[in-house]
Symmetry: C2
Subunit: 273 residues, 2 copies
């Protein structure tokens, strides 16, 4: 997940300038295909590519279950020098299965007249979930919530703790972390996590908590809802649309989880008082 | 750029739980169209939508100059209740002008056989720049570089300094910030900045520095190169592909710019020793 690169370290105060190689997170494009159709290309950190691909198909609402994907294979491209340049995962759907919705990209490139402004894209952005997270009976001890970011960080690799990588974890109501995944992109970290979890158990991931090292954006809340996760706990700030979506769906949204303090933006009734 | 939302503030240590509305950054989808074709949909912070649209078209290599866009208009959609739900900017190209490359989304949804794995998408991800940033004679005093993050932060709104918003600034070699733009998405902040700058002067933005509050990912370096900006200074970590691209193009890439220290990952000869 990391690589060494040349680096010149400068300290203005000390007037120092040293050449010292640095370790940086690897970022490479991955194309995800279903059959021969490219459904997306994303900049990701290599590793857990099958988790990422399955998770992306699930959280974008393109497949409903891990069983809908019969096989996944890597398919590597080479450049003029014969060295691999680009990674492709090709997923094969189970017999009799087809994509539940088209790839977001295709929807975006549709042409539509201005009278129905944006409706195709609104639909593309808002993937309705089949799972009513509002009904999930999960409740959480505030001390468990406050401890989640440290637990997540403890499960990250040493490099990840030094910067540049986002982490996503799936926790039980007692704070036990079932699975942790890391990526240069926060959406990819969540996709990897959901993909990994969906191989272990059927969706919805009821009774669990999604913990993210990053901000709580609309897409993070959206992906959680599609996976049937009733609680999202973020270290960073929430966005307005993430709050709107959480309130609309009855998802518990916690953000600014730092030290003993956190803020609940939706469904605080699930946090024991 | 911000909105008030309900919030329950919890402090585990003090056993405190108070209801206190919070200010969060607004995140809403924007669809950018050229004529009747949707070229992208992005989650962005409303404001500077024309800068964002123009900047996106420029940094994705779809138009070569601000003059190629004759007009931009807002086109607002309404939901069932008649309230606006989705924003669309429709750009009209100047007579005789056409898109230099198709929208990334269309390339991604092309079908290709596995023998030419990923080539369509590699091309989609890597937008070649027309401007040789390697030849830019800019040189920088290390003290100027170290001061850029504070200068950027001073130009952000009060809320932005409290979390949740990324900033991008365009600086002169003496550290003067010409323009600053903010957005919930770091790519959008750069697009807004380039769009704003491209209305003032022709590309390339030679002799300038792009300062970003976030990490230096591939796409940030890419957008800078397409705009002809020879130096990128990031507060956060760089990714491997950003370093690779900067070294390939001869762009100066500075990251981890914190206090008196920073790290130069490419073309350190432009940093006075």
């Amino acid at each position: 997940m990391t690589t060494r690169v040349p680096r010149t370290r400068v300290d203005v105060e000390r007037g120092a300038r040293v050449e010292r190689p640095d370790t940086v997170v690897v970022e490479e494009p991955l194309e995800i295909r279903v059959g021969e159709t490219a459904v997306t290309a994303t900049m990701r950190t290599p590793g857990d590519d099958f988790d990422l691909s399955l998770g992306h198909l699930l959280t974008e609402g393109m497949v409903g279950s891990a069983h809908d994907v019969a096989a996944m294979m890597h398919c590597t491209d080479v450049d003029e020098d014969g060295s691999p340049t680009f990674n492709v995962v090709e997923a094969t759907l189970a017999p009799g299965t087809s994509l539940l919705r088209p790839a977001r990209e295709r929807t975006q490139s549709m042409t539509s007249a201005c009278g129905v402004c944006g409706s195709a894209s609104v639909d593309a952005v808002r993937t309705s979930s089949r799972f009513p997270v509002a009904d999930d009976p999960i409740v959480l001890d505030p001390a468990v919530i406050a401890a989640l970011p440290d637990a997540l960080e403890a499960r990250q690799s040493v490099f990840a703790r030094t910067g540049g990588v986002h982490a996503a974890g799936l926790a039980m109501p007692d704070g036990t972390l079932l699975t942790v995944r890391e990526d240069v992109g926060r959406h990819n970290a969540v996709d990897k996590l959901v993909g990994a979890a969906a191989r272990e158990r059927e969706l919805p991931l009821a009774g669990t908590v999604l913990v993210v090292s990053a901000r709580a954006s609309f897409e993070i809340a959206q992906k959680a809802s599609v996976a049937g996760i009733p609680v999202v706990v973020a270290v960073g700030a929430p966005t307005s649309l993430a709050v709107d979506l959480a309130r609309e769906l009855g998802m518990t949204l916690v953000a600014f989880t730092r030290g003993p303090r956190f803020s609940v933006y939706s469904r605080p009734d699930r946090v024991l008082g």
